[in-house]
Symmetry: C2
Subunit: 216 residues, 2 copies
């Protein structure tokens, strides 16, 4: 079992989201193009209840978002647009009654809230005592499966800095965004503790796998 | 004729040079690995007076560093390790008596100096009145050929910000450096004025071509 990042799209100038994020542009201006490779896949079609979709390398990497994962961690900005105190229990994520996680999802937040039990095996737990605590809970919940650090970029950076991520798959999209939120932001983020262990291009993205150097 | 960047190597976290640049580590700690793809090519072997070298895609991109270029621009830190006033005329670059440029090279500096006429058609001119002036001189010198913005990263950023670069070829090396000097540094660098017009991977690098959007 490993702690991994999977299917995070990055622009060629290093941004996992474009500038000026908002409710209308949750991935920032121009940022939705980051996911063109993913949206075209059979896996994404299936997740959306649609037929068809591409079945090649992009789809194999997309499938990693669902395979072998026993628990998930995400930031509250990935969970939803609400900031500050939770006004009520109504917001339960972007994904409807049956979110595509089907495992325990630990949402990092400064504001306590009761768990939200959803259909299909997903329960959102709200963790207020930090990223390491959330990882402990996720490892416990995952059993012998992997923990997915789902995002966003700021959450990934926090785990990178602590050296707690074992493997990363990033999909470099062939676009430049000119600004936004970086995965590798500051010297000291710990990127140099990881190395590229494989890269595979498709027409839509360049898939890159990283592993911690000490793990090889 | 176009103004172009060619053969600039970038790490997957966006650095064209590693951290802690010094005379011993002109490309910063770990930065020499950025150029593994280039050093293996037949073009680089030829330039160094050696036989052999790879002849595939890497070599074709490397050849772009020598083909169709009528004038070159570089920063003084690319020209050499001396900072501040020139103590004398002795330093004439890293490349010996016959530098691999074979055209007029305009070196951006704050400190005036007489031109240095080298063997093989290379003359180094020292331009003290800014990047736009250097480009005017280079365009004049290039005739109907291209102007190469050779580097380093800071010089490329200055021309990018002014929108004066028509085409870029960057080679993404499959490494993470964790710090150093970025090509795409700040929002406002103008990266969003460019778009990817092609990408080709090899075993050693991912070659990406960019063009200004308005030129398409």
């Amino acid at each position: 079992m490993v702690v991994r990042v999977n299917g995070i799209s990055v622009s060629l100038d290093g941004y996992a989201a474009g500038p000026d994020q908002s409710l209308e542009n949750p991935l920032g201006v121009g940022g939705e193009r980051l996911h063109d490779w993913l949206i075209a896949t059979r896996m994404f079609h299936e997740m959306s209840g649609e037929d068809g979709g591409s079945e090649g390398v992009d789809d194999q990497f997309a499938a990693g978002l669902r395979t072998g994962i026993g628990a998930t961690i995400m930031g509250r900005n990935m969970f939803g647009p609400i900031r500050g105190e939770w006004p009520d229990q109504d917001w339960t994520g972007w994904w409807g009654d049956n979110p595509p996680y089907h495992n325990d999802v630990f949402v990092l937040t400064h504001y306590a809230r009761e768990p939200a039990v959803m259909d299909g095996g997903t329960t959102f737990y709200f963790v207020t005592d930090g990223v390491e605590s959330a990882l402990d809970l996720a490892l416990e919940a995952a059993g012998d499966q992997d923990v997915l650090i789902a995002g966003g970029a700021s959450v990934i950076r926090q785990y990178l800095r602590l050296g707690l991520i074992d493997q990363m798959h990033l999909a470099y999209a062939p676009i430049l965004l000119g600004g936004g939120e970086r995965i590798f932001d500051q010297p000291g983020d710990g990127a140099d503790r990881y190395e590229c262990v494989g890269f595979v291009p498709t027409d839509a993205a360049i898939h890159i796998r990283f592993a911690r150097k000490s793990d090889r």
